[in-house]
Amino acid sequence: MKRILAAALLVTLGLCIPGLQTSASSLGDETIAIENARIVTGTGSVIDRGTVVIVNGKIAAVGATVDVPSGAKRIDATGLSVYPGFIDSATTLGIIEVGSISATTDVSEIGDYNPQLFAFDAYNPASELIPAARVTGVTSAVTLPDGGVLPGYAMIEDLNGWTVDQAFLKKSVGLAFSFPSGVGGQSFDFATFSLRTTTDADARKTRDKKLDEIKAFFDDARAYQKAVAAGEKDPKLPLTDTDRKLAALQPVLAGEQPLIIQTNDLRDVKKAVEFCEQQKVRMVLRSNGKFGTSDLAGVGSYLAGKKIAVIVGPMYTVPDKEDDRYDLPQELPAALAKAGVKFAFASEDSAQVCDLPFMAAMAVAYGGLSKDDAVRALTVWPAEIWGVSDRVGSIEVGKFANLFVATGDPLDIRTEVKQMFIEGRSVSLESRRTRFYEEYKNRTP
């Protein structure tokens, strides 16, 4: 009811909240059969030698023995493996091209409170980084804005499409939220070019002040919704001026969109959970794996108890504390899996998205995460977390044909990705980087 009300409200206000729309997809129209392949479905089952049939961009059949429609383009994948396309759950793809050049970055707006912003609106489908991201098997990514407290809504897209409308899977999957930290420490202050030490007590004080401000913003959004709804019912009431920021918070307040909360220390995580419980809003945790404790089992059971999904990344990190186990961040995914927490990997980058499967391998190598769970955290789990599992995340009948053919285990760097399909279309594995290679490798004179 709340959901319908919020939607109706926004329509009345003439505000386009992209999350409420669904993909006007650009599904392929070829009929393709990939035969004799080892098929890793992503759901845990593996077909040692089977066929995937793609019809109109979707998976029409998958199995050891399936009928191949006449006229299908047949691909013999003997000795090769087929995997569902990998999903990178936190990137700046499409909104950062060259990090150091502000003219090419559209990631961070002025101001702390910008829920009215959408990565969707700045996404550049012609970014040179998108084809480069695909080469290791990544077919979808979440693109998040950054900066301030509420920098805007993230979207999830397939890494193909001439326009953003062709690319997106869901125009918004959650509102990014940089949760204020109540944990002290040392940080580098660029204003004075010196180290600044903050005690826990000072950090908590600053955090609480900021949280009051944030709560007030949420209260304002609720009051705004009430005022607009009341005005709808009673035309005699004074008109309420449109407020894009407060209107944009409604999908979160209505539980339609989660807050994607970026915070690390477990004390901050608990505070964030408390905040979301008080506000009755959903949350997805976005963590670099540094919880400020080596008790990962405890972290896992806490998050499992609260049923919080976690975006983990990047794996390229070392522990903060000198006495921590040297591979503590790499041990986290296995601990989460053991506790039953749903999690997904993220590169937290735009140029190094192609490293995503290798990051997952680190969690296998150091933490003992099972290879199956590593693949799940690159496919079905992120699809479920972001609410797109009806279309992507596994090789199952009815889903988009987002998949790739590889020479072996795609988590091993030496494995080659031979072919990739996104929404049933064969996509190029060439990029700016392969073009330069081809151009110069046989330079004459």
Partner: protein, 480 residues
Amino acid sequence: MRRTRNIAAGLCLIVALGGGTTSLAIGGQPAAVDMQTAPANEILIRNATVMTMTHGTIENGSVLIRNGKIADVGKDVKASPTATVVDGTGKFVTPGIIDCHSHIAIEGNVNEGSLSVTSMARIQDVIDPTDRSIFIGLSGGVTSANVLHGSANAIGGQNATIKLRWGKHADELLFVGAPPGIKFALGENPKRSNFQVQPQRYPRTRMGVEDTIRDAFLRARDYKAEWDRYNADFKAGKKNLVAPRRDLELEPLVEVLEGKRLVHSHCYRADEILMLIRISKEFGFKIATFQHVLEGYKIAKELAAEGIGASTFADFWAYKVEAFDATPYNAAVLWKAGVVVSLNSDDGERQRRLNTDAARAVRYGGVPEEEALKMITINPAKQLGIDKWTGSLDVGKDADIVVWSANPLSTYAVCEKTYVDGVLLFDRQQALKDADAAQRAAAALREKEKSSDKPKGDGPPDSKPPKIGDIDDMKTGGDQ
């Protein structure tokens, strides 16, 4: 460090008094520090896949360590009955990894960013042997590193080649015998393209970078001429000679001119690389390595013809304009052209997965596996002039050895043991145990504090301050 300085100062004094025909003292790495810390016992790593880097891979092979050196390598290796035996069944053994571009173990900032030429600044004076990055490096099999200044200045400062002797004093980390070197930098960083540092500083263009380096070498050449004349006059027995005033900025550049100091130049674009080659030819010095050299693939044949080494990233790009033409195929193209290629980390975290960076050279461009592993072992050793001592599993070399759980080119491989000079400085199981013990001890202390009467404070923050500029951080004026 004081001891080293005194040695250097002593040498310089002799020169200043006109006591020799050598023109100048080499401000290089000390040779006088006693480094014999290796145990006298034997360690036998047996029944492993031994990847020697210089004479192939030996299945079911063994490596014998004696007195910190490699005493034997092969299928049939005899050890004394008292030798410590490490079962290598199912394991892979490689030489220690050498990171040819690193900023670990440096106290404070890596850039003396005040001037455009800071050849007088020396890394060896600011080695921090307590930097945990040393341990992180060991945990990824790194045993030696080329520790460099940042890239803020066209001529940065004197680098230090170190061994990751975790637990030793600063002086003891220095790689004895390693040729001295100096860091140059071209392109966006010395011209401060990505920084809003005030006040503005010359150079601001690639023209200015060229001019800054040329000017420094012209001054160095004049300075050398003064000394050469003085030394000749001294030798000829002329009386009442006045020695030229020592110039600590120009001395290292004179050493470059005399071929006594290696030049390691940070660079990205093909044109700026060729520019430095022109300068080097004009002044008659040799460049040891181009660092980063992300557009090296565009001029592979020129680099091969000059015999200059390339030390690059396996796959890292697009963080700035001069890194936008980068391709992970760079290493493969350079290798095929005949350039000695190494893969470096430039980072306290990336250093511990250089083995998987070698695997990237296999993936992107099809470099054979052994050649890829050479890019993190014997090749950087050659580039740093330390291949006499390390970089391969050869009898007589330092026992810098890594034991891996699987083929180190696999993403699933984990470094299990790292030996430096035959000393086991990293053992995965022990490291995890030690960390757990430290956690328990800390928890016990917290319990004790809880139960005591004294009011609870917040205590000092427990994380180590971030090291400024030792990672790829544009904002801190670090490197990359």
